[in-house]
Symmetry: C2
Subunit: 408 residues, 2 copies
């Protein structure tokens, strides 16, 4: 048995026990003025005011002037990729659009071509380095998607890399199969054959090897139609995978109502949204996961977070870390964008990046807040004047230490 005590905290952001809806997200339950937390064997044993603080523990940390928060849960990333795409970045500065670059064989297909030629071990090493980088920035649980393979072997290669990361990494990881990220070049004239490859070859092998937790589809004009997406969701369910769907990044095509009807755990992106989408989200359990670094980098409109919050929809925030549209994996910058560009309040952004991020991975019973019994995945801040300071100070993480299951 190993215990850790952090005492005399300026603030202990306990947060909500489970997922919360938009209208409640401005509330962030907090113990102030000297609160403590006691960790036992990696889980939270007890929290309380200074007056109830235990006298001893195996390890003791003085939290004076500091806040303790649940670690970020980054519920949407493409962390396993091959190489960077700064050439396309410069092409965009010179005037090409993301869609034009994609049409020229750049974009996702560029990443796929590079990844197919990269050895599994090199891919693993690169991804592990990125994972350590984001963990140091306060990410305490993460989702990672495949989708830069687009062939059975390459998709399985990515999912095996994610499995190795799950085994070796400090932080909990969920794997999502995104074979339907784009139609690969060799199937451009035969979309049906690629969809059948996913249904008949990829999904059975993924199921047999137990390689994924979720099924994702890029539902978009440049990728898969609403009908194709629904068919693939159905195939995912048959393979034991619940859906989490890329949708409404560039166009509102009806994907959100369909995904809500098919009980998607989350719909992700939502830069463009209409009233039917809002109503569908209100009538479902589906979480709206917003990825503001993508429109930041692509100069697209930001998701209308306030409209969703005011409609009482549960909102999560994630990085979308990937080499094309978001070469950045820092959750604290996502929080800053949420506040500066989407007018979320700091408390709303923190809830979205913790408990609702956990809920978007069906992990809110284990992670995402500092309630007794949950894993002690936590951020101890530097000395800061208030919790609002975190998104305000946009260029820097305000982190002194990150704990994963109670360990630094």
């Amino acid at each position: 048995m190993s215990t850790l005590l952090i005492h005399s905290l300026k603030g202990l952001a306990i947060g909500h026990a489970r997922r919360i809806n938009g209208k409640s997200m401005a509330d962030l339950p907090m113990l102030e003025s000297g609160a403590f937390i006691l960790i036992e064997n990696g889980r939270i044993k007890k929290t309380g005011p200074a007056s109830e603080c235990p006298e001893r523990a195996d390890r003791v940390i003085d939290g004076t002037g500091r806040y303790l928060l649940p670690a970020w849960v980054d519920s949407h990333t493409h962390l396993v990729f091959a190489g960077s795409r700064e050439r396309e970045f410069v092409d965009r500065i010179r005037g090409l659009s993301y869609q034009e670059i994609a049409a020229r064989g750049g974009g996702i297909l560029n990443s796929a071509a590079r990844l197919r030629g990269m050895a599994e071990d090199a891919l693993y090493q690169d991804a592990l380095e990125r994972l350590e980088e984001v963990t140091a920035s306060g990410t305490g649980a993460i989702e990672i998607k495949s989708g830069y393979g687009l062939s059975t072997e390459a998709e399985l290669k990515i999912l095996r890399v994610i499995r190795r990361l799950k085994e070796d990494s400090q932080i909990p990881i969920r794997a999502t199969f995104l074979g339907a990220h784009s139609v690969p070049t060799e199937y451009k004239e035969n979309r049906e054959a690629y969809i059948r490859l996913i249904e008949e070859e990829m999904l059975p092998r993924i199921q047999a090897e137990g390689l994924a937790d979720y099924m994702d589809v890029f539902c978009e004009k440049v990728a898969f139609s609403v009908e194709e997406t629904e068919r693939l969701i159905e195939a995912g369910y048959k393979a034991g995978l619940k859906p989490k769907i890329h949708v409404n990044q560039f166009y509102a095509m009806g994907g959100i109502p369909m995904a809500c009807r098919r009980k998607a755990v989350s719909v992700d992106h939502l830069e463009v949204i209409n009233e039917a989408d809002i109503e569908a989200l209100q009538q479902s359990e589906t979480i709206a996961t917003l990825l503001p670094t993508a429109p930041f980098f692509l100069n697209d409109p930001y998701p209308e977070a306030r409209r969703m919050l005011d409609a009482d929809i549960p909102v999560a925030l994630a990085t979308d870390f990937n080499p094309g549209s978001t070469p950045g994996g820092r959750m604290s910058f996502v929080l800053s964008l949420a506040c500066i560009k989407m007018r979320m309040l700091p408390a709303e952004a923190i809830n979205a990046a913790t408990i609702n991020g956990a809920a978007a991975l069906e992990w809110d019973a284990e992670l995402g807040s500092l309630h007794t019994g949950k894993w002690a995945n936590m951020i101890l801040t530097k000395k800061i004047p208030s919790i609002d300071y975190i998104p305000y100070r946009f260029g820097r993480d305000q982190i002194e230490r990150v704990f994963v299951k109670g360990e630094m």
Copy 2:
């Protein structure tokens, strides 16, 4: 005598010897494929290709896979301030404008009230910490303004803190007097008296103590008119201070043509610009210093950098580090915004943040590029695929080591 050799560099961005105009800024002179640099007593002694690399030095660093760049020159900051303003940040999220917050006694006047109550030593300690933070992020020379005092004693207090920083800091610092940052509350009904205070009391004392290198005025509807600004520029010249002017942040009022006519070293901000401003800049030696983190944070339009570059105007980039409109001092993020939001090419942004930043402090003979004889203030990057990767990877500094006068 102490020598330092960095060899086998993937790229050595020598840069331009002196300031350069906009149309030439896409060119960044670079030695590739194994270049070396030799430093002697803090200054650059020699650079060249692998074939000419010296055999020994007191200290030797292997630069394989890495780039060496001139350190950033941040030519516009308000680094000495008291406290943070995250409450106003939250007020803005709730719907108040920057101008409305200023009208309520927030903004600059809020910072001034806090600063007046803060001891010089505490002010110094806070500023030193920030200075070390930005140096670690690659800033190798910096300008710091007063302007949060707005009384003779408080302005002198800031300038004395800057003088102490100059003495103690590793990096070269220029001090700018910005008593004309805002009209303080006690002079709201008597602007003339405050201007005369600057002319007759502040400037003579600053001159007598040798506390400033430049004179700045916030030429803006909420601050000082074009006529008042010109009068203050004249007073600055009489006290031996050349002008560097805050102008065109919110409105184009004719401040740029006046400042160019009065031979301002730089005009800073320029979120709003018209054809007369462009022509005045073309016909002057004045540098256009852009501060994109301010409109990023305030949700204002970004400066039209391409228009200025295409008009062959010399452009510099700086952070505007301050607690109200830019609580961030990372130059690499400024470069990312320059590329993503203002469509500057990475090479243009690097030139703007190095040699033209140095020129905006009249330091381009000493700093801002890696030519023989200059101070060895340099950034050694991590292993990165190209120089374009620096602004592309927006969330992270790509820095392995920072050198100031050849020392780490």
